[in-house]
């Protein structure tokens, strides 16, 4: 991955004093162009993360305590269940993403551009309901008597909202919501990757006698593999952050149906706002931030997906 970019940066650094005037001018201009963004990146990106890191390693009084906050939050009776919930949720959600998003993308890629564009737009539309709106919509969908899926709910034996939302259903319900609001964007990306496949590759497959199904599975699928990886890693990192869905269900039901610490982020906010322990909250948010950083690092340094120089 270390290609021309680092090379040229190194050179500029070494030969700084003898650079031509034009280059130096350009260098100063560079700082001016990126300056505002860098300040904001520090202000609302790096600094808060650094402050959370400091809180996570100190006591309420500001004394350095090493990993005490991490160990204590780990031993909180809600800590492991929260991560188990997230794991169940992601097992369902990521499987659905891989199977359905790829399947749908491969299918609509064979349709005429206009039809395919219409479908992509329809699938993307629920993105407008991301966040709390989607949660409310799905509360309606899961309330027997009110839901347009009433027939399905009754067939499953659910007569009340409480019955639809029994604890073992929650990972499925949250996966449904996440899929409804989020899968459309991934269909766009995967479809974009498919349209990037050179035409001659597909023509060659056709000449060799491959049918649409074989072309999809043997030719297209291997060529978009890295995009599937991208989707999985980004979705994994995002999934660990689940908050709005369980929090709203919890609020709506006085914490009876869904605990106010169902997901790790909920646990962190409970510790911050109900227990007034910012240091514990910071420790959990650092746990989650580390997961996100590992995912980001994997994508940047281990895959060749993102172009840099």
């Amino acid at each position: 991955m270390i290609r021309s970019g680092s090379h040229s940066v190194g050179q500029t650094g070494r030969t700084g004093r003898t650079r031509p005037v034009g280059a130096r001018r350009r260098s100063r201009a560079g700082y001016l162009f990126v300056g505002g963004y860098v300040v904001l990146l520090v202000l609302v990106g790096i600094a808060p993360a650094g402050y959370a890191l400091e809180l996570a390693f100190t006591s309420v009084g500001g004394r350095f305590t090493g990993f005490t906050n991490f160990i204590n939050t780990y031993h909180d009776f809600r800590f492991l269940p929260a991560f188990e919930h997230i794991a169940e949720f992601m097992a369902i959600w990521l499987t659905a993403l891989v199977v359905i998003v790829i399947g749908v993308s491969l299918v609509i890629h064979t349709l005429s551009p206009r039809v395919s564009a219409t479908f992509r737009f329809l699938f993307y539309l629920p993105a407008a309901f991301a966040g709390s709106a989607g949660v409310l919509v799905w509360l309606f969908m899961l309330q027997p008597g009110l839901s347009p899926w009433d027939v399905v709910l009754r067939a499953l034996g659910y007569r009340t909202l409480g019955a639809s939302l029994i604890p073992s259903n929650l990972p499925i319900v949250f996966a449904l919501i996440a899929f409804w609001t989020g899968a459309g964007a991934w269909i766009l990306v995967i479809h974009g990757a498919l349209t990037n496949i050179p035409r001659d590759v597909l023509e060659a497959a056709e000449m060799d006698g491959a049918g649409p199904l074989q072309t999809a599975l043997r030719v297209k699928l291997p060529l978009i593999k890295k995009w599937v990886m991208y989707m999985l890693i980004v979705s994994f990192a995002g999934g660990t952050q689940l908050f709005a869905e369980p929090e709203l269900f919890s609020q709506a039901t006085h914490g009876i149906l869904v605990s106010n610490a169902w997901s790790p982020n909920q646990l962190a906010t409970s510790l911050a706002f109900l227990s007034d322990n910012f240091n514990y909250a910071a420790a959990i948010s650092i746990d989650l931030l580390v997961i996100a950083l590992v995912c980001a690092g994997l994508l940047v340094f281990r895959t060749r997906l993102l172009r840099e120089d």
């Binding site: 990126v34 309330q143 990192a237 909250a281």
Partner: protein
């Protein structure tokens, strides 16, 4: 980067398009507002419009910051050479891959330490940080076409700023449009960040629509003690609640319709090499 090239080569007729849409929006507001008001009349209309106004303020200002800082930043990384350029590029890529929720609580802790919790800036500035926008701007500007144009402008004696302002910026409408759309959708639908900043109850009057509509789910929105008995019981009838939901989704749908050309026609592919 053939597809970003195509993006750049697109003929840009959006000023007139925007004018048409703006006119339609104004007329639409005239037709729709009385009806919405009537329908919401029994349910605290004032609050709904406060939420809507807050959402417009936060997302609008956030998007403005994202464009004003992000476009020059992406351009600077793509076309100028400076110490720390490559670490900044890598840092931007990492930052754009970190889910925005991951920073909500750290941002709250920071805002709390600086007594910024009641300020609109507590959400506007985080919305304004859009590393993905910087990255796609970098991809957009790091093309042979832009480099050739720039070299010509420099030969003609343009300063770096003039070259950017007069030569490159006029070509930038597609990338600006893409950043506006993506950052707008992300900030308009954000729930976690305003929630940590403005609290469980709207005591400060700072709630955006995403939090306001969720207020309908405050304690009391369900009845029943044991979980099997719990039923949904909203303060407003489902029809009014549904209207509120549509009101919150409408701007995003509108943006999607206007920006279909960029998003749905698969142009996002250009973003990813």
């Amino acid at each position: 980067m053939a597809s970003t090239e195509r993006l750049a080569n697109q003929r840009w007729r959006t000023p007139s398009r925007l004018a048409v849409w703006a006119m339609l929006a104004v007329i639409g507001v005239f037709f729709v507002v009385p009806i919405v008001w009537l329908l919401l009349k029994p349910f605290d209309v004032g609050q709904t419009f406060t939420w809507l106004g807050n959402s417009v303020l936060y997302s609008g200002a956030g998007v403005l910051v994202a464009v004003v800082l992000g476009i020059p930043a992406g351009y600077g990384i793509a076309t100028t050479e400076f110490v720390g350029r490559r670490p900044l590029l890598i840092g931007t890529m990492i930052a754009m891959l970190i889910p925005s929720n991951a920073l909500a609580l750290p941002l709250f802790l920071g805002a709390n330490a600086f007594h910024l919790l009641d300020s609109p800036l507590a959400v506007i500035l985080p919305y304004g940080l859009f590393p993905f926008g910087v990255y796609i701007a970098y991809l957009f500007y790091d093309t042979p076409r832009v480099h050739v144009l720039l070299a010509a402008a420099r030969v003609d004696g343009c300063t770096e700023w003039q070259a950017f302002r007069r030569v490159v910026l006029p070509l930038s409408a597609p990338i600006i449009g893409l950043i506006v759309v993506l950052d707008f959708i992300a900030s308009w639908t954000n729930y976690f960040l305003p929630w940590v900043m403005y609290g469980v109850f709207d005591t400060s009057g700072r709630y955006p629509l995403s939090l306001g509509i969720a207020q309908q789910l405050m304690p009391g929105s369900t009845s029943g003690d044991f979980y099997q008995n719990i039923q949904l019981q909203l303060a407003m009838p489902p029809s009014a609640e549904a209207l509120l939901l549509l009101l919150s989704a409408a701007p995003v749908i509108l943006v999607l319709l206007v920006a279909q050309r960029w998003i749905v026609s698969g142009r996002l592919q250009g973003v990813f090499n």
